[in-house]
Symmetry: C2
Subunit: 160 residues, 2 copies
């Protein structure tokens, strides 16, 4: 995990890919988004989506899972090379979350992350805010999901 | 489900409340957000959160569940009174999603919905976009979650 000043702005990185199954789509939907086009194939065929598709929050949740896995890989890399580890704080939220296309049964979504910008924190001089664009792209090359996430990241010692 | 023109702008309505348990927090986190402060009490105590707390995406997912339940109630009310049912389309996304406070084990979050504004669709004259603020408030009266959702809603016949 890099210090705020060492984060490679504009560097896009694949963080993982997942194929959505009907069973998994229905399990998530039963718990958190029980709309007919997320629960039943026939109902979905008669809806505006035309086929069973995943809850948008399900697509977003898989993105989070890969963000966590990516951070774990970065921590492991830093530890392996003896690089100092910056502290990462909580996320205050996300903006511009877009569900651009449905995610249908059998679609494989590849998630990417790309640091967009950093900003020093006015109230906490040792910390800054990092904004990152996360996207999910299907097997046809269409972006189905896009969001700008944020997180508090420690500044390099002496940078403040 | 009302037509776009009949939606009561500014009318805040409670849509449901949920108490988050440790087991449920860990189950969601294992699948979608396996960070230590969502998975293990001791690790959480040593984190910046100070105690086990829910993934922000878990808080968001419960909001979606209550949004769906609220729509089902509105459909049932309309059917019971013979009110015409407007079509509601997909959501293109959300904006300004904020996790303002952690949701700890045992916290009861009450979700509210408040229509903010409507806008006719330029490309599809029979449809408009509805923007709604959804919030989650804990038992201390603190807003822990806030987001502005959007959805396509059919316009009243003849309104376009």
């Amino acid at each position: 995990m890099s210090y705020l000043e060492d984060i490679p702005i504009g560097e896009k990185r694949e963080i993982g890919r997942h194929t959505f199954t009907a069973e998994e789509i229905k399990t998530f939907a039963r718990q958190y988004d029980p709309q007919r086009f997320h629960l039943d194939e026939t109902e979905a065929e008669n809806s505006h989506f035309g086929a069973l598709c995943a809850s948008g929050w399900h697509t977003a949740a898989w993105c989070m899972r890969f963000i966590v896995a990516n951070r774990e890989r970065m921590v492991a890399e830093a530890e392996a090379t003896g690089t100092p580890l910056a502290k990462w704080g909580p996320s205050p939220g996300v903006r511009e979350l877009k569900w651009l296309k449905p995610v249908y049964v059998g679609d494989t979504i590849t998630y990417h992350t790309e640091p967009l910008e950093t900003r020093p924190s006015a109230s906490r001089p040792q910390w800054g805010l990092l904004f990152v664009r996360h996207t999910g792209t299907n097997q046809h090359g269409e972006i189905v999901y896009s969001v700008i996430g944020s997180a508090f990241v420690e500044r390099r010692p002496g940078a403040a």
